[in-house]
Every structure is written in structure tokens, then in C-alpha cells.
Symmetry: C2
Subunit: 211 residues, 2 copies
């Protein structure tokens, strides 16, 4: 919205999106509760009053940073769902996730999980926000697979909701591995196993992979 206001007073010396990216990286690496205001402001290159004037509170800053993370870092995973078949969509989703989780230029793993799976009661909202983000991704996955089911692109009797949860869980597990230092190759090998199994499950829609 009003991002084009005619600037009544002194303009900011920092770009909002840029400092949000820096903040996201700190939350990503240290978790919400581990990320202190000092480390955040240091990484963002601004001081506390600027931070509070721009974002209001640590929690609001986190929400904004997480939203931006979702927009940017998960775009290719969402795009993967547009593959023509369910099999291709699942593989593209898992491959893109594995690449994201181990890509350079940002911390390993996934902010949605490292940000704070378990928090103290006063920060319980953070866990809920992260869980809602993951649930949205899983819902998108399920919607895609549900469409596949209607198109006859899924093995009979396979529940699209359970399949979406399976794929999402695998991806989340890869995030846990990545946070602990697993390499891209490690994760892709796991995806190889998963896709070989899914291919066996539904030979019709998979590329030829006979043993």
C-alpha cells in the first residue's frame, strides 16, 4: 500500500526489505528466543529505536521477516506444484526443498522449523505462526494432490491428505537434517529413495525406473 508517500520528514537510511532479510537470517540461525535484540540490530545495521519505529516489537518484526521468507525462499517449492503430474510435482517439490535447505547465501535448514518449534509460554504465538506457515504449504500440496486424484493421476485408495502429509513430513525431516549439517547430496539421496518408492507405488505416472 502507501509505499509511495511523498516523504514528509527525514527519509530512512535503510531499506525495509533488506533489513527484514537480515533479521530473518538471525532468527533462522538462532531461533526466535535465541535471537537477541542486540544480535538482530547488529545484523540489520540499524539501532533499536529505528527497529521499533519501523516494526513495533520483536514479535512483529518476526512476523514480517517470516512473511518475507515465505514469499522469497519458498517460491520455487510452490512453483514445483505446477508440474503436470502428481509424481512430477512431488519430486520437484522435494528436490526444490532439498536445494533450498542446503543452498548458499543463507543459513542451512528452514526458518519455519528452526524459528521456534517449542517456545516458552509467553512466546507460544511464535510456534503457532510457524505452524500455520507449514500448514499452508501442506494445504497447497494437498490441493495439488487432490486435483490429481480427481484426474485419476493417483493410485486408487491413496488418500491425498495422507500423501501430502507424508511428503511434507519428509521435507520437514530433511530440514532437521540440514540444520544439523547434512549436505545437498545427503538429502537428494534420501529423495532418490523416496521417489523410487513412490514410483514403485504408481508405475503408470513415473518415468521408467525398472531395477
Amino acid at each position: 500500500m502507501g509505499a509511495e508517500t511523498p516523504t514528509p520528514g527525514r527519509p530512512r537510511t535503510f531499506d525495509e526489505q533488506t533489513v527484514l532479510d537480515r533479521a530473518a537470517e538471525v532468527f533462522w540461525q538462532q531461533g526466535y528466543e535465541g535471537a537477541s535484540l542486540s544480535s538482530l540490530t547488529k545484523a540489520m545495521g540499524i539501532n533499536r529505536p529505528s527497529l521499533y519505529a519501523a516494526f513495533g516489537s520483536k514479535e512483529e518484526l518476526f512476523k514480517r521477516a517470516f512473511d518475507r521468507y515465505h514469499e522469497t525462499n519458498l517460491a520455487n517449492a510452490r512453483a514445483a506444484l505446477e508440474q503436470p503430474t502428481a509424481y512430477a510435482a512431488i519430486e520437484a517439490f522435494l528436490r526444490a526443498s532439498a536445494d533450498n535447505l542446503t543452498a548458499g547465501g543463507h543459513p542451512a535448514g528452514c526458518l519455519s522449523i528452526q524459528g521456534g518449534l517449542a517456545c516458552s509460554p509467553e512466546n507460544a504465538r511464535i510456534s503457532e505462526i510457524l505452524a500455520a506457515g507449514r500448514a499452508a504449504t501442506e494445504a497447497a500440496l494437498e490441493a495439488r494432490l487432490s486435483r490429481a486424484a480427481k484426474e485419476g493421476d493417483l493410485p486408487d485408495g491413496l488418500d491425498s491428505r495422507a500423501l501430502a502429509r507424508f511428503v511434507m513430513a519428509l521435507s520437514e525431516g530433511h530440514a532437521v537434517h540440514a540444520a544439523a549439517g547434512a549436505s545437498r547430496e545427503d538429502l537428494q539421496a534420501s529423495v532418490d529413495v523416496a521417489m523410487r518408492a513412490v514410483a514403485a507405488l504408481h508405475p503408470g505416472s513415473a518415468p521408467a525406473a525398472s531395477a
Copy 2:
């Protein structure tokens, strides 16, 4: 070790294992950094000096609580690996994990993950300890599957290390789901999908499950 010392002074009024269980639950629910000394001592029913006399520091308390957690709460998952076939071992492992993650009597999910995937730099040791615990479980899984490979109990060309990582990742993903409130049935449905896929992958060693 010396649990049978002849009691030189005044005896403790609390049982060490019992208070470790309480401490584990707090860490489990709130994470290492979210768990304050106040909430820990309250849950354990002892005061700070007793805690420090018995365990030395918050970090040592965590290590002890985590060790005990490993002994008790993961016993059935380890036992699952003793199943006669690789297929049965994987299924038993995933089923036991899903049950553990959603069982009553303790917080949902898994301390190995909720305890602190990402911590501030000064608590980086905690993440490492948890990662080592998960790696040990994965190593046990891999050892079992490696044995299966030698016994011809694994499809040709299937890497036991990658398969172990796949199974472990799925289980960790289920833990993430459980932490966010997924039910036992939700997780078991995901296991159903996984086992159906693994069965298709290796029909020989799976129970008949034709659609």
C-alpha cells in the same frame, strides 16, 4: 555407579530420576532456551541450590535429562529394529515413533527436536548434543538396514545409508507435525502411505497388500 553410598549426611528428599523426567518435560515443551530456571525448579519441585548441587548447571541438567529421555522414551523405537526383516523393522520403527510422538503422559513431539534445533551461539552445544542423539538413532537404523542388505533383504541398488536417512527424516517430520498438534491417526496415515510405497518398492519382503 555409586548409587548405594552409605549416606554420610542428610539424605535427599527427591528422587534424581524423577526430577530428571520432570525437567525433560519442561525442555521438551519449551525448548532449552525457553525453559527458565524458575519453570524448571517449579516443575521439578525443588529449589535452585538443590538443582545446582545435584546437576551443576543448566546445561548439565539438560544433558542428564536428555540421556534419560533417550533411555526411556526411545526404547521401543530401538527395539523395533529387532524385527526379522528390513520391511518389518522400518514399519515397527515408524509406528513406534508415531505412537511415542503422540502418546499421553508427556508433551507431544520429540525432545531431540523441540529441545533446540537452533540456538544462540552461547548455547550452540545444545543443538550439537541433540543432533548427536538423532545421529545415533539414525546410525542404529543404518546398521540394521546394512545387515539386511548383506542378507539380501533389501532391493538391489538401494543404499542402506540413504534408506536410513529417508526413514529417519520421515520420523523427524512426524515429530514436527506432532509438535504442532497432529494426532496419532494423522501420523499413522502418513506411515500407511510410506509403508505402502516401501512395500511396492520391495514386494518380496512385505506382507500381501494388493489393492
